[in-house]
Subunit: 225 residues, 4 copies
Amino acid sequence: MDTEGDAGNSTEDDPGNRAGEGDAASDTQDAIMGATYRALCEHGYANLTMQDIADEFDKSRSLLHYHYDTKEDLLLAFVEQMVGWIGDRLAETETEDPLPRLEEYVDRFVIEPGESDRQTFALAIIELRVQAVHHPQFREKLRSHYERNVETVAEILADGIEAGVFRDVDPERVGEAIYTAMVGARTYQVTLGAEDATRRMRDAIAEFVATDLLVADRDVAEYAG
Amino acid sequence: MDTEGDAGNSTEDDPGNRAGEGDAASDTQDAIMGATYRALCEHGYANLTMQDIADEFDKSRSLLHYHYDTKEDLLLAFVEQMVGWIGDRLAETETEDPLPRLEEYVDRFVIEPGESDRQTFALAIIELRVQAVHHPQFREKLRSHYERNVETVAEILADGIEAGVFRDVDPERVGEAIYTAMVGARTYQVTLGAEDATRRMRDAIAEFVATDLLVADRDVAEYAG
Amino acid sequence: MDTEGDAGNSTEDDPGNRAGEGDAASDTQDAIMGATYRALCEHGYANLTMQDIADEFDKSRSLLHYHYDTKEDLLLAFVEQMVGWIGDRLAETETEDPLPRLEEYVDRFVIEPGESDRQTFALAIIELRVQAVHHPQFREKLRSHYERNVETVAEILADGIEAGVFRDVDPERVGEAIYTAMVGARTYQVTLGAEDATRRMRDAIAEFVATDLLVADRDVAEYAG
Amino acid sequence: MDTEGDAGNSTEDDPGNRAGEGDAASDTQDAIMGATYRALCEHGYANLTMQDIADEFDKSRSLLHYHYDTKEDLLLAFVEQMVGWIGDRLAETETEDPLPRLEEYVDRFVIEPGESDRQTFALAIIELRVQAVHHPQFREKLRSHYERNVETVAEILADGIEAGVFRDVDPERVGEAIYTAMVGARTYQVTLGAEDATRRMRDAIAEFVATDLLVADRDVAEYAG
DNA sequence: CATGAATGAGTTTTCATTCAT
DNA sequence: TATGAATGAAAACTCATTCAT
């Protein structure tokens, strides 16, 4: 289940998911990833310096180079981390029924104007995605993340079709369209400050689902069955 | 009519299309804008240097500063130029009927794998859009451009509704959804190399239009009329 | 005529060989070469930094990079310059007779304890020569310089043989031995502080020449011819 | 007897030739010296880092500092070790007769193109000798080593003179000239890649010895005696 | 003994910007 | 206009050294 928004934030703003002592190396590396995230959100990829990252870090700048040979290495590790933060939550949901599950999925994209953390997180992903054009390694990681998300929607759709809830559409195509449309709305909201763009797109998709995707006599059929 | 794709390309790939001598200042500034465009596409915003721009230019770096005090000034002028290149073609179309006009509009977003110029142009816009977060001045320009595009789709829809071709939806909402979805697909295709993402989204929207937007008995009505 | 010792010193300590205004670029580059020379002598190759060079220079550090992209480029240019400084004087002499010419040549290697400039210059060459092991480009330049010097001695010997002054030895072999021996003595003197090592080698060679190289009855033969 | 070439090689290419357990401290320090030698040869003095040495070692960088406070301390110890490796073999020979002994001595300098170990070892000495200029402590050690070598040749010559084999030359002077010339040739060969330079110098010296140093009627005298 | 982590000073290099011509 | 030269601030990266364990 996609929760690009809050997943990351909670994870590294509150990296409390380590038990006991942990190993120092891992601690430090986690801290570096967190610092990188904060610095990226604050300064933007284009202006991000090692110093910016160090400033969000309670250790010295040199230590960044101790753990990652180059800035590029560090950022590549960060992309992996970022994808990991999101990916871990991809399948999380307790909802089983296809329709509410789809609604829940789409709902999670909505960013309220006040949720600056989620806005910020979304921006970070967009920034990295743009860099992907120039960095093949970034691209591979972000692309497979994107495809995994599309796949998640497709599965919900496939489940619904099988259950007779949704019309017999191509789950891949429609799934990609839904995910891509939500990502587009999020990009619009985050980059150009279009308040409520995600909410409007959520509503548009909900309407599309109601009007066009749901099997017309679903309620009847269901109760009939 | 949105033609972000080819509008820019023809314009700055061939920036020699002005008549007569013109005034030298303008010539030079146009050349700088063209060079900036090429440099941006080649290096990406994050790595763009004044030297990169000068290299795409047959003049010296100093001259850039003669025309624009700072790099930021230059880039701000570039954003304006960029929006202008697109905007000039916004209303261009010979199609009048709402349905084909909508189809034409959406069609123009499709980027074929081989069209690297259009891909490149789309990328430039995306790069700038991301920077908009950190540059309020960029944001204003790009946002109004975005809204103008949404408005164009909305008008097509409004025309169609008025003509009885389209169902009575909210033209703003649906227009924004359509435009945003296409932009999302374009971003996906360009940044992550998802070949045919724009084509698939175009098809999805076409299907949505046919199934959900067209007035059911349109053909009948039309021929009846 | 080889005068590795004083050639360089006079050249860049007193770069008065430019006419009138000259071009600034060349002036500056000459100044950089001079500064590099002084910094090299003071700090040694192993510890030489761009800052050290800048400190011997009346311009900024950045300017070094303006003229030479990297430290390595600068040092390669310096090696060329160094070889040039020496090479220009290679053929200079007014002496014609082979024996005095050979004596003059060997004599010029002698470094008196007080001649710190020449000592310093000799050291610079030795430092570069050691680096040649790790830098093929240095190696080529320094090797051809070495060979040119050997050739010069060989020519003196060949002249002397032809004139019947010297015994019929292989000029190349003996020339290389003489030059190499003098260079070895200079290295000994300069690196290990062996005062008078060059003078002692000069004397040894002079004795060798007198005892072994000169045609025994030269005077007689000459006049007889 | 000088065997700078092979002496070192056998010693540190195979630093495992100590019996039994030995004391650990010494073992480690020997290993550090060996690693330093290899690192020096590979990277050159100018680029030699503690990390380079540690890389040739199966232990950590920190351990180097445990045994030697500073890099300079380590290198000073290394110079001593180096001189020791050579010095131990200085007097080794079974030859008694002055002429063959001198020939043997000079012969040992010859480095065949394929003998990369000996080339490498010679280079290490040259690198250190250049540093001697800036490090008085290095200088003392290397200078006394040099003088000891000169002395060895001088003794051979003195023996030969006393035995009536050699002409009555100044053994110190001629010995220094011979040793210095061979070192010069070795430097030429090793730093500038002059293949066979040592062999040619050996031949030149051999000829000098035959022509100029041997007592003219030596063979007669000898057999007559 | 031995190490990984950490640091600070220093090194090369980059880059927007200025200036004299 | 137009440029090459020049600069200073800051960037990434290096490295000897220290320290807790």
